[in-house]
């Protein structure tokens, strides 16, 4: 989880990532962020986040992102 929070902090240092539950719906993560985030997640956790995973529900909170990573076989 620490690694994931580190990646997110690196993306935007001014967001309280752990508390947010509507990252996509509130516009805190835009499409540019998503592309950067997917690249980092793939590299760090050795997974392959693909187009079909780009659903708002998968990126609205840190827990949702962690759940997506777990479903792709990452240890988090």
């Amino acid at each position: 989880m620490e690694k994931l929070l580190g990646i997110l902090k690196n993306l935007h240092s001014d967001v309280a990532w752990a508390n947010e539950t509507a990252l996509i719906d509130d516009g805190l993560l835009d499409s540019f962020d998503i592309i950067a985030l997917v690249g980092d997640l793939n590299d760090t956790f050795g997974v392959c986040v693909e187009l079909e995973h780009l659903e708002p529900d998968n990126f609205n909170s840190v827990d949702a992102i962690a759940a997506l990573l777990r479903s792709l076989g990452a240890e988090i």
Binding site: F32, I35, A36, G39, E50
Partner: protein, 497 residues
């Protein structure tokens, strides 16, 4: 038959009567029949044939794509229906957009709304491929989804999952829903007839004969054009959404106070939202997450370092999106330049982010969320959008460069107060009506930006207030828009797409 023609109101009254009097199960079919009648009047046999071709190809490809998905066919096999169908339909769209270049003898062939329904159709098919939507087995229901008359000629570009259940539910008459729908329509007509139509003569004059004017008047005209295009397009969308609401169909929002955008990317999140999200979901993500671009990203990271290396693939995808956005808006070098410059500015914004962050700290303009910093960001975005609009509206690329040259080399500020403005086909009375309309629009947008639903507030207020507001809007539309205005001659700008 445009939304502002008398025949449209006769058609609309007839359609509402048939829809609500029909048995619940047959209502969607009434809508389909009404949509085809409407499209026949708008575009004739040629346009009806073109949309029927799209409906048939999308229907058959949808069945095929659905069957391949159920059979768990390989990715490449599952892409075949998309390849055939999208090539045919986008080929047709490009042919019509560029017809005057491809076969000069034919000139510009126009099929109203082809850009909108082709994108909507392509989105539906791609969603089937991705397994996000179920295949529509009834071809007539698919035909209604693609030809629903209120949104046929100028969008919004809806998703099947958003509107299908409403379209086929056959909702009965509902007073509250109808009241809200009519209010939305009245506001749409106000935007179109009292703002956009009053701005049009000035904009047409200055953009056609820019060489007669100094830079100050050109900048003023570009600003007025920014308001005109917003009032025209969003006005039309409001009418569309109002009609759909009366019929019980909730369409997606297409505008969200674009003049309050604090960056170009934010602007495109507020302007023509359904096109932007289409380009994001079906073009930007697939390109940015494609394997070749992923590999390119890895190589570029090794060469240029982490930050730039990561940004390059995103920039390429961004550039493709805005290039496509330019092409979507029409043929012509100036329109392509509009798209290219959009892409270039947004990409440059990504690269220079650390620099702007440092500047922000230096100038103590704290971020773009409130106070002076936000105001600065809004004005900077307005300036950038106005610069881009030189290209979007100019009659050719050379006109756009000419207008920019005039702006920077021969400003003539005094023309703003020496009476020159009154020689631009608008009288003092016309300016007063336009100013009145723009002030109301500004007030409405401020209220909505603060997340207050204007219609809900109005409907909760005392009856006398409701009566006064609607009377002012209706009288403005009737007196300024229809009696004094030129209601019938100016069609919607985006209806030509």
């Amino acid at each position: 038959m445009s939304f502002i023609s008398p025949s449209f109101f006769i058609f609309l009254a007839g359609s509402f009567a048939c829809f609500f009097l029909a048995p619940k199960r047959a209502r969607w079919f009434v809508l389909l029949a009404a949509s085809y009648v409407f499209y026949w009047f708008v575009g004739g046999l040629f346009a009806v044939s073109a949309i029927t071709f799209t409906i048939l190809t999308i229907y058959l490809s949808g069945l095929w794509a659905g069957a391949l998905r159920e059979r768990n066919a390989s990715k490449w096999i599952r892409r075949l229906p998309l390849l055939f169908c999208l090539t045919a339909n986008f080929g047709l769209l490009f042919f019509f957009i560029f017809s005057s270049y491809i076969v000069p003898r034919l000139g510009m062939l126009l099929i109203p709304g082809i850009s909108f329904y082709t994108f909507q159709a392509a989105g539906y098919l791609i969603d089937i491929y991705r397994g996000k939507v179920a295949v529509e087995k009834n071809p007539l229901k698919l035909a209604l989804f693609l030809s629903f008359f209120p949104q046929l000629v100028q969008g919004p570009i809806s998703r099947h999952s958003e509107i299908a259940s409403d379209l086929f539910a056959g909702h009965g008459w509902d007073w509250e829903r109808s009241r809200r729908g009519v209010q939305k329509m009245i506001w749409g007509y106000f935007m179109k007839l009292v703002i956009a139509n009053y701005a049009a003569p000035l904009v047409n004059n200055v953009f056609s004969y820019y060489y007669n004017h100094g830079g100050a008047i050109i900048v003023f005209a570009v600003f007025v054009y920014s308001i005109q295009i917003y009032a025209d397009f969003a006005g039309g969308i409001n009418i569309t959404m109002g009609i759909a609401e009366i019929l019980g169909v909730k369409l997606p929002e297409n505008f969200r106070q674009p003049f309050f955008a604090n960056s170009l990317t934010d602007f495109w999140r507020r302007w023509h939202i359904t096109l932007t999200r289409w380009l994001r979901d079906y073009l930007f993500y697939p390109i940015a997450l494609s394997k070749p671009l992923g590999m390119f990203g890895k190589v570029s990271r090794k060469i240029f370092g982490n930050r730039i290396g990561k940004m390059l693939p995103t920039s390429i995808a961004t550039f493709c999106v805005y290039f496509a956005m330019g092409v979507w808006h029409g043929a012509g070098a100036h329109i392509l330049m509009f798209g290219i410059l959009n892409g270039a500015l947004i990409t440059a914004g990504l690269f220079f982010e650390p620099l702007t962050e440092r500047l922000r700290k230096l100038t103590r303009l704290r971020g773009e969320v409130s106070g002076k910093g936000k105001m600065f960001a809004i004005l900077r975005t307005l300036g950038l959008m106005m610069f881009l609009r030189y290209f979007a509206r100019a009659e050719s690329l050379s006109h756009a460069w000419g207008m920019l040259r005039q702006t920077f080399t021969d400003f003539r500020l005094y023309e703003l107060w020496n009476g020159s403005l009154l020689r631009l086909e608008l009288s003092g009375f016309d300016y007063a009506v336009l100013a009145f309309g723009v002030i109301l629009l500004f007030i409405r947008d401020i209220i909505t930006e603060n997340e207050i639903d204007c219609r809900m507030q109005l409907n909760k207020s005392r009856p006398i207030v409701q009566f006064a507001v609607l009377t002012v809007l209706l009288l403005s539309v009737t007196i300024f828009g229809i009696y004094y205005g030129d209601a019938l001659s100016a069609d919607f700008i985006y209806a030509a797409h």
